[in-house]
């Protein structure tokens, strides 16, 4: 048997394995979502709003050059349905008018605030409070990146839990309440909760709230909606059920402050600081034989702007993949270690194999397939059949994600269904391969991995705004 044949068979097995794992996760997510939905219907969730036993939460919003949307985002956070919260906006050395916007919108005045350096962060220049009856605190600090900004926020927060979010995100009214439910159910064990992040593009916003969900116009944006559905709806509920979530999205993550402080806070200057922290929390807890849980709350929904242009999307994907590489380099020792439970023996190896290495193997497959067929090693008809089967399974997995998403009640119109399902088919012809190429570039080319202008229009300027 030639080397090419062995390689071909290996890649075939890899593709089959990938789709089987994705399908298995989809089924497990389906079961988890059903269970979660039933539980959510049974509990008296809204009693939390008026309950004296509900733990207070600090919301940390790191902001770097976000003058276009920061005021709207903070206003929307101030309207969250939660009994006791404080909003800490960290201006991370913005070079635009972010701080001025906040000062004008919220009538800020400078105050002395205690800063307890529990986690490392760049120096704070000033702290501000608002004269409005809102629990808003603004921290102005030197630029240090997102992780550094969140750390600065941690150092000034008062409450035992904090929600780390982005300055371009819109949270549903009950998002925080739903994220805190797992904590309120089991305060001793639950140390972090991830939420369900959805693309905002195309939807209608009124006064900082999403009032009508719609699909964007471009293929670039719709294909990202499918990606988010596959990740947040058809995979994370399954991982969460196994207590093997490897990532709590930096856009929407709730953490027990003491646990984060104990591990040293967010890693500064890291491209995948959210994933790195999640893995560090897992490792720290399991090394000390603590029965900690890092869970996912699918019904806690937030909306974020996704890149609308190919150039911005490319930069984002390259950065994400570099971040994944950094995390893998630091935590590869956790693989196949029973001490880390399902995370170490299954979830983390699967993640590395099917996320980190996928683009390389897929590219090798694309390049070698014609050679294998033309050299007569594999019958062209059989090769075509394999491609068709692999495509069919991929489409079915996306269809499963679209089906699972139906319980959230979004994209319910016929044209939504038609466009999503059509995109589930056509994304395999060009869009997928383009992403593979970007990720391969992230692995083998230097540069392009810095934080840059994401071309955001600001939450207040996005989508089809209500009149």
């Amino acid at each position: 048997m030639s080397l090419v044949t062995i390689g071909g068979v290996a890649i075939l097995l890899y593709l089959v394995g990938l789709q089987v794992v994705v399908f298995g996760l989809g089924v497990l997510s389906w079961s988890s979502l059903r269970r979660e939905q039933h539980a959510a219907e049974d509990v008296r969730l809204f009693d939390m709003v008026s309950s004296v036993t509900t733990p207070p939460v600090s919301v940390i919003v790191p902001a770097y050059n976000e003058e276009r949307g920061i005021a709207d985002v903070v206003r929307s956070l101030a309207m969250l349905r939660y009994p006791l919260l404080e909003i800490v906006v960290v201006n991370d050395g913005s070079t635009d008018g972010t701080l001025r916007c906040l000062q004008e919108a919220f009538d800020l005045y400078e105050v002395d605030m205690p800063i307890r350096p529990q986690v490392p962060a760049k120096p704070v220049r000033a702290t501000y409070r608002t004269r409005l009856p809102l629990p808003i605190l603004v921290v102005d600090k030197e630029n240090g990146g997102k992780g550094d900004a969140i750390n600065a926020g941690i150092n000034v927060t008062r409450y035992p839990y904090f929600l780390a979010t982005d300055a371009d995100i819109v949270l549903d009214d009950e998002c925080l309440l739903r994220m805190m439910r797992p904590v309120a159910e089991d305060r001793k064990r639950v140390i972090a909760v991830g939420g369900n992040v959805r693309p905002l593009n195309g939807s209608m916003i009124r006064r900082g709230k999403v009032t009508k969900v719609d699909l964007p116009r471009t293929r670039v944006e719709i294909s990202q909606i499918l990606e988010y559905l596959r990740s947040f709806v058809a995979a994370r509920p399954g991982w969460s059920r196994m207590n093997a979530l490897v990532l709590i999205s930096g856009a929407l993550g709730l953490f027990q402050k003491a646990a984060v402080v104990e591990v040293g806070g967010f890693r500064r200057g890291h491209l995948g600081e959210d994933m790195e922290l999640t893995m560090r929390l897992h490792r720290h807890g399991r090394d000390r034989r603590r029965d900690h849980r890092i869970v996912y709350a699918p019904d806690a929904v937030a909306w974020t702007e996704v890149p609308a242009s190919t150039a911005v999307l490319r930069r984002q994907r390259i950065r994400w993949h570099r971040g994944l590489m950094q995390v893998t380099a630091e935590y590869w020792r956790m693989m196949f270690r029973p001490r880390y439970g399902i995370l170490g023996t299954f979830a983390w190896p699967v993640f590395v194999l099917f996320e980190l290495l996928a683009p390389v193997l897929e590219l090798i497959g694309y390049l070698t397939a014609p050679v294998i067929v033309m050299s007569g090693i594999v019958d062209p008809t059989r090769a075509l059949a394999l491609v068709v089967v692999a495509l069919a399974i991929g489409i079915l997995n996306t269809a499963l994600a679209v089906y699972l998403d139906d319980r959230f009640g979004h994209y319910g119109q016929a044209r939504h269904a038609a466009r999503l399902l059509w995109m589930a088919v056509v994304e395999h012809f060009g869009i997928r391969q383009r992403t593979v190429w970007w990720r391969v570039r992230a692995m083998f080319w230097r540069g392009e991995a810095r934080w840059g202008d994401m071309g955001r229009s600001g939450v207040g300027n996005l989508g089809r705004r209500a009149a």
Binding site: H38, D42, V43, R44, D47, M48, S50, S51, V52, T53, T54, Y109, E110, V111, D112, M113, P114, I115, R116, P117, Q118, P123, V124, R125, A126, T127, R158, R181, A184, E185, D186, R187, D379, T381, R382, L384, A385, V388, V389, L391, A392, I393, I395, L396, A399, V402, Y403, D406, G409, Y411, G412, Q413, A414, H416, A417, A418, L421, A424, V425
Partner: protein, 398 residues
């Protein structure tokens, strides 16, 4: 057809069928949701009319009574309104047999059915269902028990509260919290049961003692003051802090000596809450302790003390005195509070006596004593200096 061709046909066929079925499913579900929305809007209008008028054509409503959308809308409406409107809607629910149906479902073998029934009966809060609900608080499903208790709280059945509190320690944290919520809704009649649950705090605390203390605080009944004052001496810091916070709601002069003592607690979190609670007492005798609080090593104690002083007779004078004193922290806290109040820094000092002590420098010994005691305090952790942000003083201080 070859086997390869067959595989391709099956794959493509399965894929196409799935997409068509899913497309149809999405359309049907979307239409169903829209139809439900239209029905709900119509029902809201009708139920609003029923609540306002009281008379209605029974025949039409009987047809609607079987619709779960109508039931859930009615249920939601009843939970929102009070008084005559509520009585009218309850009458509608009784006339249509909805409440009897729910009582029947409460005996169902299926947990889901029982939970739904308990939720409905909790929303209706019909006194005639008290017996059924009192049986349901022994149900094996926690969701049924909690909802039954919510119904009983709404009806007002305090004697059953003690019964559920006897077993609250075996509930999960979530369910215990929801039970406590219902006790808050029940109000003062729940206090004896809560006090009985807490027992003698000096002898030990039950599992959910902190929640029970928070609940007593939310109810705010004076009869619980003695237990809360005992809680201020409990070895567990969480319980002491909860007690100090709970006394805030009472706003009672009787709690002032205990809270003044709590201002000397070694844990900052207790002092923070005690400072806040003293402000609610509106008692002049708390001014001294709060003036001491302005010099506390913990920022939030200083902040709360300054805020509380503005509520007490002679408190503004104490702030102005602090502004002229030698303590930098006290000056900052006082300055910010006076600025918020709109009192200029150079305004004449309020000469209302603050128990004969106006000179901040005399408190040096007391502060030193506090600093000695604070070996494990919140603000005294190694490497955690509690200094104001450098360069963040208010412009007026420069």
């Amino acid at each position: 057809m070859t086997s390869t061709g067959l595989i391709v046909v099956i794959a493509v066929g399965a894929c196409a069928c799935t997409l068509v079925v899913l497309f149809s499913y999405k359309i049907v579900m979307g239409a169903k949701r829209r139809f439900e929305g239209v029905r709900r809007a119509a029902y809201i209008a009708v139920i609003g009319e029923l609540a306002a008028r009281g008379s209605y054509p029974t025949g039409i409503l009987s047809d609607w009574a079987a619709d779960r959308v109508f039931r859930s809308t009615l249920q939601g409406f009843v939970a929102l309104v009070e008084g005559v409107e509520r009585s009218r809607l309850l009458q509608v629910a009784q006339d249509l047999g909805i409440i009897d149906d729910e009582v029947g479902r409460l005996r169902s073998r299926r947990t889901k059915q029982r939970v739904r029934a308990a939720q409905a009966l909790a929303a209706f809060g019909d006194p005639l269902t008290a017996r059924a609900l009192s049986t349901a608080i022994n149900d094996r499903a926690a969701a049924v028990r909690v909802n039954a208790l919510a119904g009983l709280s709404r009806i007002g059945e305090p004697e059953l509260v003690a019964k559920i509190l006897r077993t609250v320690d075996s509930e999960t944290e979530w369910d215990a919290a929801r039970i406590m919520d219902q006790l808050v809704a029940l109000g003062a009649p729940a206090v004896p049961a809560l006090l009985s649950y807490l027992g003698d705090l000096r002898a030990g605390a039950p599992r959910y003692a902190t929640m029970a203390i928070q609940t007593l605080g939310a109810i705010g009944d004076l009869s619980s003051q003695r237990v809360l004052l005992d809680g201020l001496h409990h070895p567990e810091v969480e319980l002491r802090a909860a007690s100090a916070g709970a006394l805030q709601r009472m706003g009672s002069v009787g709690a002032v000596p205990g809270l003044i003592e709590a201002m000397r607690d070694r844990e900052a979190v207790v002092r923070i809450r005690a400072a806040k609670s003293l402000g609610e007492s509106f008692d002049e005798s708390a001014v001294d302790a709060l003036a001491h609080g302005l010099r506390d090593p913990e920022w939030w104690v200083r902040k709360n003390s300054a805020e509380s002083l503005t509520r007490l007779p002679g408190g503004v004078g104490a702030l102005q005195e602090a502004l002229r004193g030698s303590d930098e922290f006290a000056r900052d806290a006082a300055r910010e509070q006076l600025m918020i109040m709109g009192v200029p820094a150079g305004a004449p000092v309020d000469t209302t006596p603050i128990n004969g002590q106006t000179d901040g420098s005399a408190d040096g010994d007391w502060i030193a004593e506090q600093l000695d005691q604070l070996d494990t305090g919140f603000a005294q952790r190694p490497g955690v200096p509690d200094t104001p942000t450098p360069g963040t003083r208010h412009p007026s201080s420069r």
